[in-house]
């Protein structure tokens, strides 16, 4: 019943050359290796999780050239020559990224399986739109599932970092 796509294993290897969290990596991978597999299995960056393997849940989100992508859908070879950021690359010199700190302070973490993807997607949004408001945050995170239902506190955490004047969760009534 489980249909894994028929991926041929014919010992062909291709070289990928990319930067992950600012560090240069060169490696031989099979052509069908996804970016997610490369990050988790070759680089042991297991902070990137997998929730469905087909781009539905967003749990495997990483940043490629600053843009959020589902790393389960991108081949490692397609990341060749690019800059990839994973959750492990956010804290600098022992200091958490403001979004990481905000997620902790606002209670945005429950089981935590979606937290890396949520934080990276929020970072991509704020890098592009530093004053993003509630609607923008909701839209930017709408492709990421959180079954613990932390959405409200996640949005509050992002808005606390956003420089937006709209940056308070508005009382709609």
């Amino acid at each position: 019943m489980v249909e894994i796509s028929a991926r041929r294993k014919d010992n062909v290897k291709v070289t990928v050359d990319l930067k992950v969290n600012g560090e240069h990596h060169q490696a031989e991978v099979e052509p069908q290796t996804t970016l997610l597999e490369f990050l988790r299995e070759s680089l042991h960056l297991t902070g990137t999780k997998e929730g469905c393997g087909r781009g539905d849940c967003g749990t495997c989100t990483v940043l490629v050239e600053g843009h959020p992508v589902n790393s389960c859908l991108m081949l490692a070879v397609d990341a060749n020559g690019r800059q990839v950021t994973t959750i492990e690359g956010l804290a600098k010199d022992g200091t958490l990224h403001p979004l990481q700190q905000s997620f902790i302070e606002h209670g945005a973490v429950q089981c935590g399986f979606c937290s890396p993807a949520m934080i990276l997607s929020a970072k991509a949004l704020l890098d592009k739109d530093p004053t993003a408001g509630e609607e923008e945050v909701k839209r930017a995170l709408s492709g990421l599932l959180c079954r613990c239902g932390s959405y409200k506190k996640i949005i509050e955490s992002v808005l606390a970092v956003s420089g937006s004047e709209k940056g308070n969760v508005r009382d709609k009534n």
């Binding site: 019943m1 489980v2 894994i4 991926r7 294993k9 960056l45 297991t46 902070g47 990137t48 999780k49 997998e50 929730g51 469905c52 393997g53 087909r54 539905d56 849940c57 749990t59 994973t86 959750i87 492990e88 956010l90 804290a91 958490l96 990481q100 997620f103 902790i104 302070e105 209670g107 973490v109 429950q110 089981c111 935590g112 399986f113 979606c114 937290s115 890396p116 934080i119 945050v137 909701k138 839209r139 995170l141 709408s142 492709g143 990421l144 599932l145 959180c146 079954r147 613990c148 239902g149 932390s150 959405y151 409200k152 506190k153 996640i154 949005i155 709609k172 009534n173």
Partner: protein, 782 residues
């Protein structure tokens, strides 16, 4: 330290962390990617497992040919039910690890492969040939319950089972009846009698971390080690040992962080496959990770329920009697649905005083995915029926839905249906606060003639598994670091934070100095489970006692070193103070001074089990009552919803949900809010979006693009309200919150829909199609 003594000392503790909005202690691991989940476990020499599943809902297995698969490249083991012919099941031992002579649902494991890579394992599955003899199947439990229905388990009568009744020769795998008073007399006395049927559907837990397990077998010792994401390692070990006929001491279970559970990871699922494979891989560990398709279609779902309620009331809204009949859909195996069918059914009478009641609850096999525990443990299903009918009654009698609940709702000292005297009953306060917050009684603003708004309210009550026990150790090393050694999986509920807060305050050390271990049954002592909202209460009390044991030892030691009577000393934030004399020395200084280079640690221990609590007594004067129906604490909640119904499209938009929960005492208001907000969203998602589309026993929507769960864009405005009724025996007065939270959401939404447009949806989920059909029917009635 005895419990009563610990409680006396508790009242003297000046709390710094308990009750405060403390940041979760697991959050930093999780926002940095450092947290290791079951999904991340990676061992040297590890193989990867894959499962061949049944494509048919019911069939005999004529032959399984694995000869080609075992010769496939990189394959190390192929296993079927012939090589591993064991069955398991805590309530009814009916479930094979791998199908033995028949399959009973689409997705049932038939064979498994272990290979050097995941890809090789999946490729080898294609080389296994299975010949089936297809049989008729039954999918509707209302059909399966009938006399003469085809039997899914002809051997039901021979299965070993726990202490509940089955009906051999039928598909009824749990039956429970219960009577109190005389319902016929109650109905005779009634001014109005209401008869309604309701149903709730199967939904998936959809934990973002899929089911996964790593198992290793040590052939010479005959022992297994299992790493998996579960919420009840000790019970799983017992179940496994029982299934394999080995001692529980031969199974070690380690539980890393769990990426969500909600009741969906508390029996042998990926574990069953990993264990079966590991037995044949000559000591190499085997990792099994289910795909999302497998997680949706071949793990467990919430037990679907069909409920008939007959309720008699007086004109003033008081109950005279209720008769309830519930049919629960077990799916192919019992798993832990029997508990749902027993404990869950009782709450069909709601948190109300009803003098005469009668219940018949039956759990019935069908040829479908297995049903099991799901946040709420049956309460969610029966609350849907109870609270929907409560609204029907109120409307018919012309009584305000809030008023009728205030009038009948439990208050402190009322008796539960088995006569247990209820304590710590915050129901009325949740009703008052939730209704005030939503603006009950003020009509909703109507945006247009097409879109109509309305408000609804619903309540629930939920007990906890009783009696269950918890054990823990605490050690303090000579650097004054504290480790709580216990078996409490951190499933996302914040369990580790609550334990840390209680330990820090009860010992008198900084929160940052406290760590909590991962469960490891070789090391960490017995605890029942993270289930039924029991952890804060049970492990909280246990940690409180062990912490006081530790503190007393520390103060005795300090007294010895300082030559002061220990009763004049206190410990706070890691410093020892003398009464009237100020700070004397730090804990670290004391321990390093006293133990110095030889090394030593202070150890505390405790066991907590509420079975002797006077609070559990049933009413001995009532016949047929059972104190096992008592719960050591009861949780109460009110949800109030405001919705907008689009009468052209049938789409229901939930605008606001106010959720007031009586938690006893909030050890941490942030984690309480997380539980409440998360449950509201899960409840809303279950109610409006989630539904399995089935065709001949096969689930068609087997991905997250087709099985819809709530996203940020569907989120209503949510207001969690914490009500604190203070439980006399809870740690610092705490009860629990996680489980009951979703139960009242569905009926609150349905009742708001009625308020908005006058239609009553009785079968979940509430889809636009059903809303439009009901609107049309209403129009037709004129």
């Amino acid at each position: 330290m005895p419990f009563q003594e610990a409680r006396r000392e508790m009242s003297e503790i000046k709390t710094k962390y308990v009750g405060a909005r403390v940041s979760r202690v697991d959050a930093q691991d999780k926002v940095t990617g450092n947290a290791v989940y079951g999904f991340d476990v990676d061992l040297p020499g590890m193989l990867y497992g894959a499962v061949l599943r049944s494509p048919v809902p019911h069939a005999g297995i004529i032959e399984i040919d694995t000869s080609e698969a075992i010769r496939a490249p990189e394959v190390r083991a192929v296993v079927t039910g012939k090589e591993f012919p064991f069955t398991f099941g805590g309530a009814v031992k009916d479930q094979p690890f791998l199908a033995i002579d028949r399959v009973r649902y689409v997705g049932e494991p038939v064979a498994a492969v272990a290979a050097e890579t995941e890809l090789a394992a999946y490729e080898a599955l294609k080389k296994i040939r299975v010949r089936y003899d297809p049989w008729l199947a039954v999918f509707d439990p209302r059909e399966a319950v009938k006399e003469g229905a085809l039997l899914i388990h002809p051997d039901l009568g021979q299965y070993r089972r726990g202490g509940h009744d089955v009906v051999p020769g039928t598909n009824i795998c749990t039956i429970r009846t219960y009577k109190l008073g005389d319902v016929d007399a109650g109905f005779a006395e009634a001014d109005e009698i209401f008869e309604d049927e309701f149903s709730t559907h199967a939904v998936s837990h959809t934990t973002l971390e899929p089911h996964c397990a790593v198992a290793q077998y040590f052939p010479l010792k005959g022992k297994y080690t299992l790493w998996s994401s579960t919420d009840r390692p000790y019970i799983m070990v017992r179940e496994l040992a029982d299934a394999l006929g080995i001692s529980p001491s031969h199974i070690r279970h380690v539980v890393p962080y769990v990426g969500g559970s909600f009741g969906g990871k508390n029996t042998l699922i990926a574990e069953a496959v990993a264990i079966a494979l590991a037995r044949f891989t000559k000591g190499r560990p085997v990792k099994v990770v289910f795909s999302r398709q497998e997680a949706l279609t071949a793990t467990q779902v919430r037990v679907a329920a069909f409920m008939k309620l007959k309720t008699g009331v007086k004109r003033d809204g008081r109950f005279t009697a209720r008769k309830a009949e519930v049919i629960w859909d077990s799916g192919a195996y019992v798993s832990n649905a029997s508990g749902v069918a027993i404990r869950g059914s009782y709450t069909v009478f709601g948190p109300y005083r009803i003098p005469n009641i009668e219940l018949i609850s039956r759990l019935v096999y069908t040829n479908k995915e297995i049903s099991g525990s799901y946040r709420g443990y049956g309460t969610t299903q029966v609350t849907w029926a109870c609270e929907s009918q409560m609204d029907i009654i109120a409307r018919k009698l012309g009584i305000d839905p809030l008023e009728i609940r205030l009038k009948n709702g439990y208050v402190e000292g009322d008796r539960y249906i088995n006569g247990q005297v209820l304590h710590s009953v915050g129901l009325q306060e949740t009703l008052k606060k939730a209704s005030a917050e939503i603006g009950w009684g003020q009509a909703s603003r109507q945006p247009s003639t097409i879109k109509h708004r309305g408000k609804g309210i619903a309540v629930t009550l939920k007990g906890t598994p009783t009696p269950t026990s918890s054990t823990c150790f605490i050690k303090v090393n000579q650097d004054a670091d504290v480790t709580v050694i216990c078996t409490v999986p951190e499933t996302g509920g914040g369990q580790r934070t609550i334990i840390s807060q209680v330990a820090a305050d009860a010992i008198g050390v900084p929160l940052a100095s406290v760590s909590v271990t991962n469960p490891d049954t070789l090391i960490t002592p017995y605890n029942d489970a993270v289930a039924g909202s029991r952890s804060t209460y049970h492990m909280g009390n246990c940690v409180l006692m062990a912490a006081q044991d530790v503190r007393r030892k520390i103060l005795d030691l300090a007294g010895e070193v300082l030559q002061i009577d220990p009763s004049r000393l206190t410990l706070s934030e890691g410093k020892i103070f003398e009464q009237g004399g100020g700070e004397r020395l730090t804990l670290k200084a004391l321990l390093s001074q006293r133990f110095g280079p030889t090394g030593m640690e202070i150890l505390g221990e405790a066991h907590f089990d509420p079975s002797h609590s006077a609070l559990l007594a049933a009413n001995p004067a009532l016949k047929g009552l059972d104190s096992r129906m008592s719960s050591i604490f009861w949780m109460f909640a009110t949800h109030a919803a405001e919705v907008e119904v689009d009468t052209e499209t049938g789409v229901v938009k939930v605008l606001r949900i106010v959720a007031a929960h009586d938690v006893g005492r909030a050890i941490n208001p942030v984690t309480c809010e997380q539980q409440i907000e998360g449950s509201v969203l899960m409840g809303l998602s279950n109610t409006l979006f989630e539904e399995f589309k089935m065709e001949k026993g096969r689930i068609l929507n087997d991905s997250l693009s087709d099985y819809k769960v709530v996203t940020t864009l569907d989120m209503p405005e949510m207001t969690p309200i914490i009500v604190e009724s203070t439980h006399a025996e809870g740690p610092f007065g705490a009860k629990g919150v996680g489980e009951p939270a979703a139960a009242a959401t569905a009926p609150a939404i349905a009742n708001a829909i009625f308020d908005a447009v006058g239609i009553r949806i009785k079968d979940l989920p509430i889809t636009p199609e059903k809303v439009l059909a009901a609107l049309k029917e209403k129009e037709g009635r004129g």
